[in-house]
C-alpha cells in the first residue's frame, strides 16, 4: 500500500459513488486464512450479516430520503445507498460459494431475514408521526453500526497479520475494498441522524440497542459457522480467549479495543471523522484490484 503519512486524515465534502467491483471466488479455499478456521469463520460472519444488514440500511435510507432538506447530505446519502447495495451483493456471492463447499449458511440467514425484515422492518399501520420516528430511530441504529463498520474497515486496512498469515488475496481485497468504502463514507449515517434529530439520547439509544445486538449476532454466527463447517465436525470451539489470541497475532480486531471503540461513540464530542484515515482509504480504493477492474468496464 502506498504511504500516505503526510495526508490530511479527513477529506471534506467528498463526492460518494458506488464502485462496480467484481470478485472471482472460484478458487477460494474454505479456510481462506490457511490453518486458521477460527479466525476465518470469525471474519466470515461478515458474509452472513452484511447482505441482509446492508440491504436493510438501503431500505432505511431510502425511507429517510424525503425527510432530508440539505442537498449535499441528500447526495451523500444516495452515494451511501449505492455503495451499501454493492457491498451486500459482494458478500452474498461469498455465501453462495460457502454453500457450494458444503457449508450451508441458510439457517442463520433465515434468522437474519426475520430480524431485518420483520423485527426491524417497515411496519404497516403506523401513524405518520410514528412512522417518521421509526425511520429516525432506525437511522440511529444504522449510525451506530456504521461506527463499527468504519472501525472494522480501518482495521482491515491496517492488518498486516492477515498478509503474514497468507490469507487469500481476493478475500483480502474484498475486506479492504469494503473497509475502505466504510471509512470513506463513515460520516454519512451519523450526519443524517444528526440532521434528523440532533438529540444526544437518540444517538445513545442507537448504540445501546444495536451495539450489544451486533456482538450477540456475531458470537452466534461464529458458533454457527464452526458447527456447520463440514471439515471441522465441531472440533474447534469458539471462546473469547481464542479471539484475543487470534487478535494478538493480527488476524482479528482485538475485542477489548472494539469495546472501547464502541464506548467512544457515546462521548458528547464524538464525530466519525475522528476515527480512521480517509487518505489511506481513498488511496487503497485507487489501488484495489477489484475497484480498478471496475473502472475499465
Amino acid at each position: 500500500m502506498p504511504g500516505t503519512g503526510s495526508a490530511p486524515e479527513v477529506h471534506d465534502n467528498l463526492v460518494l459513488e458506488p464502485r462496480d467491483v467484481r470478485f472471482d471466488w472460484s478458487r477460494l479455499p474454505l479456510h481462506w486464512i490457511p490453518d486458521e478456521p477460527f479466525a476465518t469463520h470469525t471474519i466470515n460472519v461478515l458474509h452472513l450479516l452484511l447482505p441482509e444488514g446492508e440491504r436493510w440500511f438501503v431500505r432505511v435510507f431510502k425511507e429517510a430520503l424525503p425527510l432530508i432538506t440539505d442537498e449535499q447530505l441528500r447526495e451523500e446519502v444516495l452515494g451511501f445507498i449505492g455503495q451499501e447495495a454493492i457491498h451486500a451483493q459482494a458478500h452474498e456471492e461469498v455465501l453462495e460459494h460457502l454453500l457450494a463447499q458444503g457449508l450451508d449458511p441458510r439457517p442463520y440467514v433465515r434468522q437474519l431475514e426475520w430480524l431485518f425484515q420483520r423485527v426491524l422492518g417497515e411496519r404497516p399501520g403506523l401513524s405518520a408521526r410514528a412512522r417518521r420516528e421509526n425511520v429516525i430511530e432506525r437511522v440511529a441504529f444504522v449510525a451506530a453500526i456504521e461506527h463499527f463498520t468504519a472501525f472494522l474497515g480501518n482495521w482491515a486496512l491496517n492488518s498486516p497479520g492477515l498478509d503474514r498469515a497468507q490469507a487469500d488475496p481476493t478475500m483480502l481485497d474484498l475486506l479492504r475494498w469494503h473497509g475502505a468504502e466504510e471509512v470513506e463514507h463513515r460520516s454519512v449515517a451519523y450526519d443524517l441522524m444528526v440532521h434528523l434529530d440532533p438529540g444526544y439520547l437518540r444517538r445513545i439509544r442507537g448504540m445501546v440497542v444495536s451495539g450489544p445486538l451486533l456482538v450477540r449476532l456475531w458470537v452466534r454466527g461464529v458458533r454457527f459457522l464452526l458447527a456447520a463447517d463440514p471439515t471441522l465436525r465441531g472440533r474447534v470451539r469458539p471462546s473469547w480467549r481464542a479471539a484475543r489470541a487470534a487478535a494478538l497475532r493480527g488476524m482479528l480486531p482485538d475485542p477489548v479495543q472494539s469495546l472501547r471503540s464502541g464506548l467512544r461513540y457515546l462521548k458528547p464530542g464524538y464525530h466519525p471523522t475522528q476515527e480512521g484515515s480517509s487518505a489511506q482509504a481513498l488511496s487503497y480504493l485507487a489501488t484495489s484490484p477489484a475497484a480498478r477492474a471496475a473502472v475499465t468496464r
Binding site: P8, I81, R110, W114, R118, E133, D197, L201, L282, T296
Partner: protein, 360 residues
C-alpha cells in the same frame, strides 16, 4: 416473508422449535416500535428543525485569458466575506445566468479564502456553457455556486505521477502545489495540442521546473504517459476520456499500482431513441428525449426517487414496469427479475415512440 406469521424462525442447530433468542428479539421489537413517538422516545420538539446549507451567491471579480481559448475566472463573496474552504481536487458547480449548470475544478490556492479560481476552455461543440462563460460572465455578474465538493481527493502518497491532458490540468495544479509544499516526490506530465493552448505552464514551472514535463503536439500513448512511473507511484490522471482510458489500459504493465481519476457519474447515452414513461396506470405521461435518461425525466416529477450510480449496476433506482416493453441496458438485473417487470431507469429505455407504464 410472511408478515402475518407470528412464528420466529427455527433454531440454528436443527432443534424443532422457534429460536428463543429470535423470539425475544421479536417480542422486543413488537413493543419498541409502537412506543416510538411517545414521550422520551421521540425527537425533542424544542430542538432546531433540519437545516439546509444555502448555496453561495458569488460575483465575478476576475476574467482574463490565460491561454488560447481559455479564460480564468475569479469568484468572490459580494461583500468580501470568507469563502468555504476546500481541498485540492475539489470542484464548483456554477449555475449560469441562462440556467445551465457546469462543473469546474478549483485551480487556485486553498489557502486563499477570499476568492475561488477556475479556468474554462471554450468548447465550440459543447452545450453553450463555456461560450456563455467566455462571452457573458463579465466582471460584476452574480451567479449561484454550490459549495465545493471533492470527487478527486488527493491522498498525499509519497511518490506521485500527475498526468494532465489540456484543460484537465486544473485540479492537478493545486495537487502539485500541495505536493511541493509537503516535500513529496512528484512529477507532472502535461500533454496538449500546442503550447499556446496550455494554461498554467509557467505557474507549474515556477513550482519546480525539473518536475514538469510537457508533451506538445501529439497524442501520447498510455505507456508514454506512464514512462516515469516507479514502483509504488500513485498516478493522478485528469484529461480527455481517451487519455484516461489509455492510462487505465497501460497501468498493469507499469510499475505504478495506484490510479486516481475524477469520476463522472453518467456516461453519455449512446443511440437512445425518444420514448415516453407514464407514472402509474392513470398518471401523467412524460417524454424521454433521445439524449436523456428516463431517471432524469422521472426525477423532475418525483424528486425523492432514489438512485445512485447512474450506470445501471447498483440497482438503487429499480422500478416496476406495469406495461410496455423495456430495452434493458443495465448489468445488474437477472433475467428472472426482468421477466418479473424490474427496470433500472438510469440506463434502460424503450424502442422509439414506445410507452412504459411504471408503478410509481
Amino acid at each position: 416473508m410472511d408478515r402475518t406469521n407470528p412464528q420466529a424462525p427455527p433454531d440454528l442447530y436443527g432443534r424443532p422449535q422457534a429460536d428463543p433468542f429470535m423470539r425475544r428479539l421479536t417480542a422486543f421489537g413488537d413493543r419498541y416500535t409502537p412506543a416510538l413517538g411517545s414521550r422520551g422516545l421521540r425527537r425533542n420538539p424544542r430542538l432546531p428543525a433540519p437545516r439546509a446549507l444555502p448555496a453561495l451567491v458569488l460575483v465575478v471579480t476576475g476574467h482574463r485569458p490565460v491561454a488560447e481559448d481559455v479564460v480564468e475566472l475569479r469568484l468572490a463573496d459580494p461583500s468580501g466575506g470568507v469563502l468555504p474552504g476546500w481541498q485540492p481536487g475539489a470542484h464548483l458547480r456554477l449555475t449560469l445566468p441562462s440556467g445551465r449548470e457546469r462543473h469546474y475544478s478549483l485551480c487556485g490556492d486553498p489557502a486563499d479564502r477570499t476568492s475561488y479560481r477556475i479556468a474554462v476552455r471554450r468548447l465550440a461543440d459543447g452545450g453553450g456553457g463555456s461560450r456563455e462563460i467566455h462571452d457573458e460572465l463579465h466582471l460584476g455578474v452574480r451567479l449561484t455556486v454550490r459549495r465545493p465538493r471533492n470527487g478527486f481527493p488527493f491522498c498525499g502518497e509519497q511518490r506521485l505521477l500527475l498526468l494532465a491532458g489540456g484543460i484537465g490540468v486544473t485540479p492537478l495544479l493545486p495537487i502539485a502545489r500541495e505536493a511541493q509544499r509537503r516535500g513529496l516526490d512528484w512529477h507532472l506530465v502535461y500533454a496538449g495540442r500546442t503550447l499556446a493552448t496550455m494554461p498554467f505552464v509557467e505557474e507549474l514551472r515556477a513550482l519546480a521546473p525539473e518536475r514538469v514535463t510537457l508533451l506538445v503536439g501529439r497524442i501520447p500513448s498510455g505507456a508514454e504517459l506512464l514512462e516515469s512511473a516507479r514502483p509504488g507511484s500513485a498516478v493522478y490522471c485528469c484529461g480527455p476520456a481517451p487519455m484516461l482510458a489509455a492510462v487505465q489500459r497501460a497501468l498493469d504493465e507499469s510499475p505504478a499500482g495506484t490510479l486516481h481519476f475524477e469520476r463522472f457519474a453518467a456516461a453519455p447515452i449512446t443511440d437512445g431513441k425518444p420514448f415516453t414513461v407514464q407514472l402509474g396506470a392513470d398518471g401523467p405521461t412524460l417524454d424521454v428525449p433521445a439524449d436523456r435518461s428516463a431517471l432524469d425525466v422521472l426525477r423532475e416529477a418525483r424528486p425523492d426517487l432514489p438512485y445512485s450510480c447512474h450506470q445501471g449496476f447498483c440497482g438503487t433506482c429499480r422500478l416496476h414496469v406495469l406495461s410496455g416493453t423495456p430495452e434493458h441496458r443495465d448489468r445488474r438485473l437477472t433475467s428472472e427479475e426482468r421477466a418479473d417487470g424490474a427496470l433500472l431507469p438510469c440506463v434502460s429505455r424503450a424502442a422509439e415512440g414506445d410507452r412504459l407504464v411504471l408503478d410509481i
